[in-house]
């Protein structure tokens, strides 16, 4: 079998410099999951409508299923695995645990990365603002109530 052509990509994932050869058609989601081996970022739809695959690229929230792996050369990516540090959990992670903001947990990585994108820029969002910001992330288990409360709690905790 002929090997497909590949694209050379240098990127930073969760603060670590990484280098890959990716097939030109491969999504960033698959690049992160299959090549970088970070399976915390989830697949829900592959068409940009569920947010389970949310990562941040240079501080911007994106659905990684809609970006090609080949597009992130020179960029810096944060996934759910990059939220906790040696000092402990991110306040959002802690708040999600304390507020029972997850049931099955498949949507959780996407919500955490998306919510971090909000709190990094707006430390004190209203409920309406949180609901608006997170509207690109589907959760089918929780009805969003406890997710919104957890984000509110994390916002307060990080002041």
């Amino acid at each position: 079998m002929e090997l497909p052509q590949r694209v050379h990509v240098r990127t930073t994932i969760n603060g670590q410099a990484q280098e890959f050869l990716v097939p030109p058609y491969m999504s960033l989601l698959d690049t992160i999951r299959e090549i970088a081996g970070l399976t915390g970022t989830k697949e829900g739809c592959l068409d940009g409508n569920c947010g389970a695959c949310t990562v941040s690229i240079d501080g911007r929230i994106v659905d990684s299923c809609l970006v090609l792996g080949a597009e992130v050369d020179g960029k810096s990516i944060t996934t759910v695995e990059g939220l906790a540090t040696a000092k402990g959990l991110h306040p959002l992670q802690q708040a999600f645990l304390e507020e029972a903001a997850l049931q099955c947990g498949i949507c959780t990585p996407g919500f955490l990365v998306a919510a971090k994108g909000l709190l990094d820029n707006e430390p004190d969002p209203s409920e309406e603002r949180i609901r608006h910001w997170l509207a690109g992330n589907l959760c089918r288990c929780t009805g969003y109530d406890k997710i919104v409360r957890a984000v509110q709690k994390a916002a307060t905790a990080s002041h």
Partner: protein, 758 residues
């Protein structure tokens, strides 16, 4: 004789809100879900699906796909061993493996758009997808049957030529009605004649999807020894084992299923779609592990939605506010193969009412849509949508208080359910009273200040809950903690709710019990996480195993002290002698001595619970409608539910809130929109449009605790009933807001505008 328990009140762990044991893995991305499974040498499987809703397969040519670079194997239905025909009682479930194999890979006919026709295994996912396009299938198109009316019409195209329908016990051939049954008692016609008001309405409903965010997946190896090893996100690893073994015609002991985390199921992950196909591809690829992930379109088009259908309810009442008689006709879409939730729908439709003269007709109807599967209180939300609107209309016409009418006619201990079964101790009255006394119900709805139409609706719902088989193993560690193996898939917090019941018995904090879900070879049979059974039944097994552990430890204390075991008491985390107050040892200190008092302590308990405690919910919904566009926003929502005993109240609230969100979506805009050619037009999340965070208000919950006497801690299942009341609560609120009653789901903007114009 069924064992019953007195209510208990002095809980230490049950009723608290510890951080769940599996939480850390799930907020850090470490938790391994089905798609995350990595096995050395992994290859990928992909499915070719039918573009037609109803067609005969004339030929399948797989040669080009097989010859394609990177392809290991191609499979079709012919690769299944000859299935056992007919219905088989697998001990858990009535199954029909012949039909199941035809659903996994079509045989002579495709019965819905998206029906799997062939599968390919290749070196990677992309190669597998491309190779499916090389398979040539010749179809002879047939007219699709799109709903129960078309299916039951004279001269309707027949889906399954070999189907023998059961019409009230008579065999029927050449039919799309797999089953028609009736429950009846009292004198229904006389009851209507004696009524002062009789209301009869017919409702239509469309299929809706469970909408779990994680697609179906499976990874399987069928090795040279004939053993199948599988990993799959599922509500029941034993169900995957038994269905895989049944379809591949190998003994269940030849299949090992490793459970992985499951990204939502709501009933939709109780049937397998991929594992047996992955196993066949593995075998044909020389025992390589094959991973398959269903794409989202296929999840919608080919994996179990909840039935749509048609329901007629006729209810008669007397002037004194009593229901005299009720007759209902429920026609549920099974999808492409028989087996809708019609049985449960018929059980649930009168679940909230004491009806002296009662008749229910149920029809299980095949149509050219995906085979339906369980969805949270399967069959009950549809039934609630119908009967709760009829009740609302009767109360409106008679000017009766909607809670008082429900209280006056409420099911209680000794009432006969529509199928004749007698209720045990149920908490509907307490739930209605809590709704009546709630801040929400007592606070009148303020009119809108910006021209919106506002309305309030109330509705109740019933689910019987399940018991069944469960196993829990406990191992005492010498540091005084306990390792717990249990067989139930944890779909949203049951590791915690089971471990907490064990901790309660042992006088330990929840964190000192470490839950683990091992493979099917490593724990006794445990039924699927479904029927709201897990915290009840597996928790019950945990309670028993913990009591056995206390018994074993008491023996060790007696060895230590040289006294009779019967003299050892256990209370508040301490073992002590009943006769000698000097003799006392804490749980942890005794755990450290197990080595020198007889060695390791493990206990196990398996239960098979015939009965469960039923659950009731009463929901209040306030909404606001834009009269120009028909767009509806829910602005306040309160869900009141009898939960028996909330083991972990946060997750009980979460179950209720999640069910409400699904119910609001079902009520207002979710549906399988079926085109003339019989295909689903809206098979993406974008077009199917489930509620987002922006569509939902906060959802208030009121947990009513009427202990279930069948469980030592009074636990009732809580997960399913919250999906039943939202559909009618929303519909009744729309009626209140607009003055128009909408009998067809979903109550979408166009329908509201149309109703308001009429």
């Amino acid at each position: 004789m069924v064992q019953t328990y007195e209510p208990k009140s002095d809980y230490k762990v049950v009723g608290t809100r510890p951080i769940r044991h599996d939480g850390l893995d799930k907020v850090t991305g470490r938790a391994v879900y089905g798609a995350d499974v990595k096995v050395p040498g992994l290859i990928w499987g992909e499915v070719l699906r039918s573009p037609h809703a109803h067609a005969r397969i004339k030929s399948i040519d797989t040669s080009a796909a097989e010859a394609a670079p990177g392809v290991y194997a191609v499979a079709t239905n012919a690769d299944f061993p000859d299935p056992r025909a007919g219905e088989i009682d697998s001990g858990e479930d009535v199954v029909n493996f012949e039909r199941d194999t035809k659903n996994l890979l079509a045989k002579d006919k495709v019965l819905y758009k998206g029906h799997a026709v062939a599968a390919v295994a290749a070196v990677d996912r992309n190669t597998a997808i491309e190779a499916t396009k090389l398979i040539k299938v010749e179809y002879e198109l047939l007219k699709p049957v799109r709903n129960v009316d078309e299916a039951m019409a004279k001269g309707a195209p027949i889906l399954m030529e070999d189907l023998v329908g059961d019409d009230l016990g008579e065999d029927v051939r050449n039919t799309n009605v797999a089953r028609h049954f009736r429950h009846e008692f009292g004198e229904v016609e006389k009851g209507f004649a004696d009524s002062d008001l009789v209301v009869e309405r017919t409702f239509t409903l469309q299929m809706v999807h469970q909408g779990y965010i994680e697609p179906h997946n499976a990874t399987a190896i069928w090795d040279e020894s004939g053993h199948v090893t599988a990993w799959s996100s599922t509500q029941g690893m034993f169900a995957v084992r038994d269905q895989t073994a049944g379809m591949l015609r190998i003994p269940e002991s030849q299949v090992t299923v490793y459970p992985v985390e499951i990204g939502g199921g709501f009933g939709g992950k109780t049937k397998v779609y991929l594992a047996p196909v992955a196993a066949i591809l593995s075998k044909k690829s020389g025992g390589r592990p094959v991973k398959m992930i269903m794409d989202r379109n296929s999840v919608f088009e080919a994996s179990g939605p909840a039935p749509g259908g048609k329901i007629t309810v006729k209810m008669g009442v007397t002037k004194d506010g009593k229901i005299k008689a009720c007759a209902s006709d429920l026609r549920y879409e099974a999808g492409a193969f028989p087996g809708s939730a019609i049985g449960a729908g018929a059980i649930c439709i009168y679940g909230c009412y004491n009806i002296p003269n009662s008749r229910i007709d149920g029809y299980d109807v095949v149509v050219n849509k995906p085979k339906s599967a369980a969805y949270r209180a399967p069959g009950s939300p549809q039934a609630a949508f119908a009967i709760e609107q009829v009740v609302d209309e009767i109360c409106d016409q008679m000017n009766w208080d909607k809670i008082k009418f429900r209280l006056d006619n409420a099911s209680r201990e000794g009432t006969r359910r529509g199928d004749g079964v007698m209720f045990g101790k149920v908490g509907l009255i307490e739930t209605l009273e809590a709704a009546r006394d709630s801040d929400h119900w007592k606070t009148p709805l303020k009119p809108s200040t910006n021209g919106m139409l506002r309305g309030r609706g109330i509705a109740s719902g019933y689910w019987m809950n399940g018991g069944g088989k469960s196993t829990v193993d406990l191992m005492l560690q010498d540091d005084g903690t306990v390792a717990m193996n249990e067989g139930s898939a944890d779909i949203g917090g049951t590791r915690a709710s089971i471990a907490m019941q064990v901790a309660e018995v042992l006088g330990l904090p929840a964190e000192a019990v470490h839950p683990f879900i091992p493979s099917t070879d490593s724990i006794g049979f445990t039924g699927t996480t479904g029927g709201s059974r897990t915290t009840y039944a597996t928790g019950y097994a945990g309670w028993q195993a913990a009591n056995k552990l206390v018994g074993e430890m008491s023996k060790r204390a007696s060895v230590l002290w040289g006294i009779d075991p019967s003299d050892v008491k256990f209370a508040a985390g301490k073992f002590s002698s009943g006769s000698d107050p000097e003799l006392s040892i804490g749980f942890k200190d005794l755990a450290a001595r197990i080595g020198d008092t007889g060695g390791p302590i493990t206990t196990t308990a398996s239960v098979n619970l015939a009965a469960a405690g039923a659950a009731y919910g009463v929901h209040i919904c306030d909404l606001e409608i834009d009269p120009d566009t028909g767009k509806t926003d829910v602005i306040r929502y309160t869900a009141v539910q009898d939960v028996g005993k909330a083991v972990h109240p946060s997750y009980v609230e979460g179950q209720i809130q999640g069910g409400v969100a699904q119910g609001i979506g079902w009520a207002l805009n979710e549906e399988y929109f079926i085109t003339d050619s019989g295909s689903m037009a809206n098979h993406t999340f974008l077009d199917y449009r489930m509620p987002t965070s922006l569509d939902m208000p906060m959802i208030d919950t009121i947990l009513v605790e009427v202990p279930n006497p069948l469980h030592p801690y009074g636990v009732r299942g809580v997960g399913e009933v919250p999906l039943a009341p939202p559909l009618p609560a929303v519909a009744n609120a729309v009626k209140d807001a607009t003055g128009k009653r909408i009998l067809d789901l979903p109550i979408k903007p166009g329908r509201i505008i149309e109703a308001m114009g009429s």
